[in-house]
Structures are given as C-alpha cells and as structure tokens.
C-alpha cells in the first residue's frame, strides 16, 4: 500500500477503503504471529462470494421475470428470453447500483472510523436487497432503506458479526412500514414504463394476496418455476433451490435451519388445512411468496440465526410456523416471512441462552457425577 494511505499520511482517511480494494484483488502477505502457525485457506471473502454465487440464479431469473411480467401487463405474453431479460436487467441494475453504492460507502466509512479492515458481510446483504424489493421501488426510497439497514441494523452494533437482525431484511422492513402503499397491493410488483396501459382484467397482485382465486399463474408449475409477480428474486423456487444446493453442498448455510423451517411451515399449513381456514394445500404455501427465498438466504444467515445446533432446529421451525400463521390469520399482511425471520432473529439469542443453559447444567451434573 502506498505510504500516503498509511497512518499519518495525507490520505489516511482512505486507509480502510484502499485496503479493502487491495485485499479484494490480492490475498495479503500477512503471516501468522501467534498461535497456530498454519491457517486454513478459507476466509470470509470466500464464504461471502459463495453465498453471493448461490443467489445468482435467483437474481438472473428475477431479471427475466421482471421483463416477462411487464410483457403480460401490457398484453404481450410471449416468452422472449433475451428481450425480457434485457428489460429486467435494465430495471434491476439501478437497484444494485444504489444498494452497493450506498451500503458500501457507509460500510467503508464506518470501518475507517473504527480503524478496522472492511468486512465482507455487505457483499451478501447488498446482493440480496434488490432481490427482495418490488422492482419499481423509487431509488431514493431504496437508498434510504439501505442506509437505515446498514447504520442502524449493523454499524451501531459494531459491524458485521455483531448485528442482531438480518440487514437485508431490515432494509425491506423499513420500506414496508415507511411506504406501505408501495409494498403491497397490486401495483408496485410490475414494472411499467410511463404511458403504458394495463390490459383489461390484469392484476399485478402477488399470488399470496390473491390466495385461492382463479387468477392465472397460480398453478403449481407457475409457482415452482416462478412465472408470477413478486419481489425480484423471490418468485422462482427452482432458482432458489439451485442456490440452496450450493449453500448446503459447501456447508455454508445450515441444513438444519432450512429443513426445520420447511417442517414448521408444513406443520402449521397442515393444521390450517385440517381446520379448513387455509385456502391452499399446505405444500403450496412453500412455493408462494418469500418463503423459499427467506428460508434459503435469510434465515440461514450465520450471524443472526441461532448459534447452537439444537437452537437452529427451534429457530428454523418457528420461522416456518410463524410465517404461515401470519399468512393464515392476519388479513393485514399477505406475507409473513419477513416478519417471521426478524422476530426469530430477535428471539435467537434467547433460544441460544436456553439451549446453552440446559447444556451447562447437564454438563455440571455429569462433572459432579464423575
């Protein structure tokens, strides 16, 4: 690194930023000083890039779907792969520019203030945020939401690793409660250019908001492939499953959280079916809305999820269960995944506390008995 970026140099306030870019390109030449003389080749950059790669299929499909939904809305339902993708790409790209621009700027600045190296955590959050917002969200709103999420969701706690809530979901919840009209109903989910007219009888509401009605595109395959309106990345279960495969193969995300979340959702969904309050079969709940996306990419965040293995089962199960409870019993919110995860993020330390306390007392008994 050039001397002017070092402490005391003219541009020392850029130290963290320059260091971040330098270590991004080249693994630093630092050697171990204390303790183990060898270290594993793994680092957080690698873990984060794998996580980002796992979300790429959902992002690519989401871009295409933005174009496809736009076509449907103006009465052009052809499956034009490239044209639809290009349309969606141009729509989603600004979201990414804003998400990474605002988020990383804050991240770099706060790393500099704390005099630390820049943590890679935002690479993943910044990639997820555009995937969980409506494509037509005004960019200034997104910028505000990102700033809120990064500052109050992460930096005030001390940066990545210290946060209580998933930063990407915090951005969404900020939009959801600050600008509710933008985040629900039948507008917002479909991107339209100025002056374009909706065709008669078209509704852009997500399948969840229309639960059970005979709207087009709510068949199993439409839901599974993702040919429905929704947040950019959440619609395609196939693309999300691809991501889940990468995460589970590399062991970066916990299969326990994913599996127990599915079990929790199925359990409550089944109760709903049996009691006759649910309009769709319980397995269809898994395909709708943000459930799959949340389960795979959000609930499994290692920082905000439960830390202990038994805790992960409880945490995941309750996320799935709560999500469906909100869907079934709360007419105000069509979707419960976001709130379920944030609520369980809040409860995760409590779950861990109980698990660890139980473990400690069991261990103490064992030690005394020995």
């Amino acid at each position: 690194m050039n001397k002017i970026f070092e402490k005391g140099g003219k541009l020392a306030f850029l130290h963290s930023t320059v260091d971040a870019f330098e270590t991004f390109l080249r693994v630093p030449d630092t050697v171990t000083r204390k303790g183990a003389h060898l270290r594993d080749a793994i680092d957080l950059k690698r873990i984060m890039i794998i996580a980002v790669i796992s979300a790429v299929p959902a992002a690519l499909f989401g871009m295409w779907n933005v174009g496809y939904q736009h076509g449907l809305a103006i009465g052009d339902g052809r499956l034009q792969i490239l044209a639809n993708f290009w349309y969606g790409f141009l729509k989603v790209l600004p979201l990414y520019v804003v998400s990474y621009g605002v988020g990383l700027a804050i991240e770099f600045a706060s790393s500099q203030i704390r005099n630390e190296e820049v943590n890679e955590g935002y690479l993943m959050s910044g990639f997820l945020i555009p995937l969980i917002v409506p494509v037509d969200v005004p960019l200034w709103m997104l910028a505000l939401a990102v700033a809120f999420a990064v500052i109050f969701g992460k930096e005030v706690f001390g940066g990545t690793g210290m946060n209580i809530w998933n930063p990407a979901l915090l951005a969404r919840v900020f939009l959801f409660f600050s600008y509710p009209t933008r985040m629900s109903g039948s507008e917002g989910w479909i991107s339209l250019k100025a002056g374009e007219q909706l065709v008669d009888g078209f509704t852009g509401a997500t399948p969840l908001a229309l639960e059970g009605s005979a709207q087009y595109g709510t068949g199993f395959w439409d839901l599974f492939i993702g040919l429905v309106p929704g947040s950019v990345g959440e619609t395609s279960v196939i693309a999300i499953l691809l991501g889940a495969f990468i995460l589970l193969w590399t062991g970066i995300a916990s299969w326990k959280v994913m599996l127990s979340s599915v079990l929790g959702a199925l359990f409550v969904g089944l109760l709903g079916d049996l009691a006759g309050i649910s309009a769709v079969p319980c397995w269809e709940q898994l395909l709708m809305g943000g459930f799959a996306f949340g389960t795979v990419f959000m609930a499994t965040d290692p920082v905000t999820s439960a830390q202990t293995e038994p805790g992960k089962w409880i945490y995941g199960f309750l996320i799935g269960a709560l999500c469906i409870v909100v869907r079934l019993f709360n007419p105000g919110y069509a979707e419960g995944m976001m709130l379920a995860i944030l609520l369980m993020n809040t409860a995760a330390p409590l779950i861990d506390h109980c698990v660890v306390s139980a473990h400690v007392s069991r261990r103490n008994h064992k030690i005394l008995a020995a």
Binding site: T23, L25, R26, V27, P28, D29, T30, V31, T32, R33, K34, G35, A36, H37, L38, R39, D40, A41, I42, D43, L44, K45, R46, I47, I49, I50, E117, N119, E120, G121, G158, G159, T160, G161, M162, W249, T250, G251, I252, S254, P302, V303, S305, A306, Q307, T308, E309, K312, V356, H359, V360, R363, K366, I367, L368, A370
Partner: protein, 453 residues
C-alpha cells in the same frame, strides 16, 4: 483395557514433510539453554551466576513461590550467560556444555520401598517435577496437593507429530518405572490413553499399574485435555495432573539410574525441512545446531519448537522447548496471491471447508506455509463451525467470547477449567475470521489465575 472411545470430531491437516523413521544423528551442542518461559505459572529465582560450574542435574533456578520446585541443568558445564528481556525478565540461562557429561551423584532408587512423600521429594530434587502439569490452567503442579488422578497420552495426533513408538518404544522399562512412581502420588491412578487404531502395534499396552484407555479419532484425539474430558471431566475443586510420555520416561530413568537424563528423539519435520528425520537432542538445544535441516535461507523460513498448531516460533536463534519432541520447519508465506480467494480451485492449498475442493483428494499432502490467508474479522460463522474440530462437550465460541469479555462467571460455565489453548488450536486453524483463539484462551486462563489467586 477400558472401552474404546471414538471421537468423530476433529481434523488431520494433511501437511507434507513427515519425519522419516530413522535417527539421523545425535546433536551435541556446545550451548544448552535452561528456560523458565517453557513453564506456565513458574516465576524463576536464579540459583547460579555467570561463570559458575554446574553438573548435569544441579539446580539452576527455583520457583519464587514454591522454592522446592527446581529447574536443573541437563548438561554439565559452565554458566556462560544469563539472558534477560524487558524489565529484566529472566529468559534463559545459557550453559556451555562439557564434552563429557558429568552427572550429579545419585543412585538408583528402590521404588517399592518409597512412599508418596519420598517420590515427591525425589522428583522435586531431580528437576523433573516441572514435567507435571496441573489442570485446570496448565500450570506447574503444586506439590502440596494430592491430584485426583494423573493422565498421560501415549499417542500424538498433531500434524507431523513424532511417533512415540519410534521415540520411546525402546524405553518401556523407564516408562513403567515412571508409572509406578507417579501412581504413588494419587489415589485416582495413572491413566494412559492409547491410540485405538494401533493398539496391538504399540508397546505401551503392556504397561502395568496404569488404567489404559483407547481413543480413536483425528486430531485433537491425542491431546490429553480432550482425553480427560472423556475419561473424567475436570472439576474446579479437584485438580488433575498430566505428564507427557517423554516426561514419564525421564522420570522412570531417574528412579532407575539416579541420573537426570533429558535426552530425547526429536522429529525434525515440516514442509520446508530438508530430508526430515529424527535426531537425538536435549531440551534447550539451539535451533542453530539443526541448521542442516533448513539450509541457509533463514529469513524465509520459520522454525517451530513443537507442532504447527501450538508450538512456539523459535526462529533460527531459538531453542528446543522443554516438553517438545518435534521441530517443525516451514516457509513464511509472504507472497501476495492475486485473486486468491476468488480462484475456484487454489490447487496448492488445503481447506477443511467445502467451498474449496481439497476434500475431494484426501490422499494429497500439501506444502503449506504461514500465510494467514485473509484478514482479521469479527466472528461470523456459528459455533458449530468451530465445534466440528473440537471433540469436547463444550461450546467453543461461547467460551472464546466469554474470555474476550473477561467474564469469569461465564468462562467457568462454558468450561475454561477443561481446556488449554492447545485444545482449541484447530478452532483457530479453521477460523475464517482469523482470530488468535489460542491467545484469547490463554489470556482468559491468565485472568482466571489472577482472580482466583
């Protein structure tokens, strides 16, 4: 033989450069160091001055608090220099060795006729007492107490570790005498842990007067701390002692011959070692005397006394540690690797994480170096990521965080009494956030010692 204990968690790091099972030479160094820094909880008081003549076995320093705990000269010769560091901290006493070792007068002891106090007195007098390590905290054993039991690990799973069958297999009689002596110091017995995969192949299963245990598993299954936690977990109020196998052999030989003999076979190994093999050497032998194994390029290599995970970085000017029978030589990884973490394969590196592909080629050995492969970060991965390499009934990350916070109560709850830094060395190795976990644990133990004193 007691039951076979199988440990599923753990990791064997496939690093190249294992020492060939042959004794290449006996290292006769003209300088031998006696270092108080090898021992935790030992505050030295000098008993010699520069120019004094010492015999092999005569005391060089004593502990300030427990003046009967002695460190003795492993050779005869003349005290050449007393090395002090900052604040005049005593670092080493350098002894210029005679060509022929002159032993302090001593006679074989009749172990059968000795009681616990006599054994204790003999051990203290011999300078072999510091081989006894007391847990919790891993300090030099307190002669005033009676330990609950004494534990010995008869195998070593650390990367490239010396094979105890090769280094000590021919000293079964010494080890047996050591077991017999130590068995008098405790009512809980001497517990000896064997490698369950090589039970028949090791001579140590023939030892009598000891409780034998079998452990199967990857590193750290050979760590005595891990074994204790499975045999009988350590309690705060009743300490246990551990002794390394080579210490047991030295103790036995002392009782059999009346002489202090610390010579041992040392594995000189590691990816940067030239023709790795065994040598015979004394603790305190300067690394310079092993120069043939690492050639001339002294800046580019690191010489570690002990294993790669928890040995001490001695450099080419350092000395062999008191407890060590292994010297590991590896290259300093001071290259910047372009796009390192982005490359899909990184064929030359090993990772226990499946986001690399080295788990597909379990037979390969790697020429690893000291590069950190990343920068320090806050803990991000959850406890299980670390727990998979720690076969103990504790939550490692919770313990580490309690140590970081200096919260004594939580450290107690999460098991600080059961661990020493070396037990969590693999957690440090796999940590993607590159924290110095062993250092954190050591600081936690230091804090406990201070607060509990």
């Amino acid at each position: 033989m007691s039951k076979n204990i199988v440990l599923k968690k753990g990791l064997d790091i496939p690093v190249s450069g294992a020492a060939e099972l042959r004794l290449s030479k006996t290292v006769q160094s003209d300088i031998v160091a006696v270092r108080p820094t090898d021992f935790r909880g030992f505050t030295p008081r000098l008993l010699v001055a520069e120019g004094d003549r010492v015999l092999c076995g005569s005391p060089v320093m004593a502990d300030k608090q427990q003046s009967d705990i002695l460190l003795c000269a492993p050779v005869s010769g003349c005290v050449k220099q007393i090395v002090r560091g900052e604040k005049r901290k005593l670092l080493a006493v350098l002894i210029e060795a005679d060509e022929r070792v002159e032993y302090q007068a001593g006679a074989p002891a009749d172990l059968g006729a000795m009681d616990a106090d006599a054994v204790k007195a003999a051990l203290l007098r011999s300078g072999l007492w510091p081989f006894l390590i007391q847990r919790p905290y891993g300090i030099v054993a307190d002669p005033a107490i009676k330990p609950r039991a004494i534990f010995v690990s008869a195998f070593n799973t650390a990367p490239l570790a010396a094979s105890p069958e090769f280094t000590l297999g021919d000293r079964l009689a010494d080890i047996q005498a050591g077991v017999d002596a130590l068995a008098k110091l405790t009512e809980g017995g001497v517990h000896l842990s064997l490698n369950g995969d090589n039970y028949a192949g090791t001579p140590f299963h023939k030892l009598e007067n000891a409780v034998l245990h079998c452990f199967k598993g990857r590193h750290p299954a050979g760590n005595v701390g891990v074994q204790i936690s499975h045999i009988c977990p350590i309690r705060k109020d009743s300490a246990v002692w551990t002794v390394p196998l080579l210490g047991l052999a030295a103790i036995g030989r002392y009782f059999r011959t009346g002489r202090l003999d610390l010579r041992r076979k040392v594995a000189v190994c590691g990816p940067a070692a030239i023709e790795p093999a065994y040598v015979e050497a004394l603790p305190g032998t300067p690394m310079r005397a092993l120069g043939a194994f690492f050639g001339g390029m002294t800046d580019e290599i690191r010489v570690v006394s002990g294993n790669l995970l928890s040995g001490s970085n001695e450099g080419t000017e350092g000395y062999l540690g008191f407890f060590d029978d292994q010297v590991t030589v590896l290259r300093e990884g001071r290259e910047k690797e372009l796009f390192g973490w982005m490359r899909p394969l990184r064929y030359k590196l090993f990772s226990a994480d499946r986001s690399y592909f080295s788990w597909l080629t379990p037979w390969r050995k790697y020429e690893l170096d000291t590069n950190l492969h990343g920068g320090p970060r806050a803990f991000v991965m959850s406890d299980a990521y670390y727990g998979r390499v720690l076969p103990m009934d504790i939550y490692p990350l919770y313990l580490v965080k309690a140590c970081l916070a200096g919260d004594i109560e939580k450290m107690e709850r999460f098991g600080i009494y059961e661990v020493l830094p070396e037990d969590l060395a693999l957690c440090e190795y796999v940590d993607p956030s590159k924290n110095d976990i062993q250092d954190i644990i050591q600081k936690g133990i230091d804090l406990m010692l201070k607060e509990m004193a």
